[in-house]
């Protein structure tokens, strides 16, 4: 039997869903023109599915800082953080992240995925208990697999259920570590973090919050959901990424715990991979400065999100529970979602297609992500096209 035969059902599923139509695995942008537009198949498309929440990918200050770092320090570090891959700017960015979150220390990773993989799998050791939200991102699930702890899912955004599952562990030794997210990546809903923090305190657990999608969006200073609901002191570890609001690539974890930096000598996904290139460090530092000094970035991202969310709901779409920069629209089936997604690209709008098992509750979703760089005209055009395609395919009622 072929080594790849085990993937035949997945291949067959994709072939049956898309046939000869384009599928998300084959999308190649000819050229990205700006945070909100690209050329795809020779045609201009509106980008409404790139997680580029603050629109900083072409920000002049970020580009200039990146180019300066590239010229001064070269194209790559060619080494890991524990070998030759720590430059003074890696350490400086870690200090900046720690200062931004008001935490004692921070570590940067080469991707956001690796930040979760490294932090969670290293902290949760044999005999410990890892409690993860059922709708957690794949990086949290993969971290759970890599960890030697017992891993228990709790019902999505259900602090009571979390408490119940923690009580079941009452007489078991081992640390309890809770993992949740600021904004969940598929439906754009936020965690009930105040209540989860209360459970954490009552049960003597530790709390990890992944603010990947909430950094730069929630909280007065853009520090995420924990800031927005006033529980930053309860969050033992904040995790995040540079690849969304900060417009680059990389991840981080920050903490007040005095021994946090011990992770640098035991966390394999931190230790045994190449460190971020200087150009990325440069642009991320510039993006952090932009976030800290220009509140209009967040304000526009939030108002654009509300505009899209409200208009799609008014058009008759079933949208996610909250108006955040991730705006998900529920489709009746994987086949209709695939067709809808294809028709949107035909009409010049690029969004994300999210299908089971990558979605909660086996939902088929058209997932948009909104940027502060979008104009109101662009948002309105997207709504108009999505509504027309929705009526054409019978997803929403005809006017």
């Amino acid at each position: 039997m072929s080594l790849f035969a085990k993937f035949d059902p997945i291949r067959a599923g994709i072939e049956s869903l898309f046939g000869s139509a384009r599928n998300p695995f084959d999308v190649r942008f000819d050229k990205v023109l700006s945070p909100t537009e690209a050329l795809l198949g020779g045609r201009r498309v509106l980008l409404l599915g790139t997680n580029n929440y603050l629109g900083l990918t072409f920000d002049p200050a970020c580009v200039e800082a990146s180019m300066r770092a590239l010229e001064e320090a070269g194209t790559g570090t060619t080494g890991s953080r524990i070998a030759n891959g720590t430059y003074s700017d890696h350490a400086l960015l870690e200090r900046r992240i720690a200062e931004f979150f008001g935490k004692r220390s921070a570590m940067i990773f080469s991707t956001g995925y690796q930040a979760n993989l490294g932090l969670i799998s290293t902290l949760a050791g044999r005999g410990d208990h890892l409690l993860i939200d059922a709708d957690s991102h794949a990086s949290i699930y993969d971290a759970s697999k890599l960890s030697t702890a017992e891993v228990i899912r709790f019902r999505h955004n259900d602090p009571e259920d979390l408490a119940h599952r923690l009580r079941r562990l009452k007489h078991r030794p081992g640390n309890r570590i809770i993992v949740t997210e600021g904004i969940f990546s598929m439906l754009g809903d936020t965690a009930p973090l105040r209540e989860i923090a209360a459970v954490k305190r009552e049960m003597g657990a530790s709390l990890i919050v992944d603010e990947a999608h909430s950094l730069g969006i929630l909280g007065k200073h853009g520090r995420g959901l924990a800031e927005a609901v006033g529980v930053e002191a309860d969050v033992d570890f904040v995790v995040g990424t540079f690849s969304k609001s900060l417009g680059a690539v990389g991840g981080f974890a920050a903490s007040d715990l005095p021994d946090f930096d011990l992770l640098r000598i035991v966390c394999r996904p931190y230790m045994f991979t190449a460190s971020l290139p200087p150009a990325v460090i440069g642009s991320v530092m510039a993006a952090l400065r932009r976030l800290s000094t220009d509140q209009s970035l967040t304000t526009r991202a939030v108002s654009n999100s509300r505009r899209l969310y409200t208009a799609l709901a008014q058009s008759g779409f079933t949208v996610g529970p909250e108006p955040n920069p991730i705006v998900a629209v529920k489709m009746p089936s994987p086949a209709s979602a695939a067709l809808f997604w294809n028709r949107l690209i035909d009409e010049g709008v690029y969004v994300n297609l999210a299908l089971p098992p990558a979605t909660p509750g086996s939902m088929s979703l058209i997932r948009s992500s909104v940027s502060s760089a979008h104009t109101e005209v662009q948002i309105d055009r997207a709504v108009s096209i999505m509504s027309a395609v929705g009526r054409e395919l019978g997803v929403i009622a005809a006017r």
Partner: protein, 89 residues
């Protein structure tokens, strides 16, 4: 709902699992003790994990994900739940 802490025998656990599955699997899927959970139920991996969460509530045990990974058939699953219930006393 069984009283908390009561020990059901493995056969009864298995029968309950099969009953609970009957409303969830696609039409035409027959569930027996030897049905393969990943390949035989016609459910995706997340739907299986969500079903296991319902089993956790039904039997008042937590089934850690590494234990789920070791389970292949409905019989294995009932055995795992039986053991977890006995361990919990």
């Amino acid at each position: 709902m069984a009283a908390q802490g009561s020990i059901l025998d493995r056969g009864r656990i298995e029968a309950e699992i099969i009953t609970m599955l009957s409303g969830r699997v696609p039409q035409g899927v027959q569930v027996t003790s030897e049905t393969q959970i990943l390949r035989g139920l016609g459910l995706d991996s997340v739907a299986i994990l969500d079903f296991i969460m319902d089993l956790e509530d039904r039997f008042d045990v937590s089934i850690p994900l590494d234990r789920v990974a070791e389970v292949q058939t409905i019989s294995d699953l009932s055995g795992a739940i039986d053991k977890l219930m006995r361990d919990a006393g």
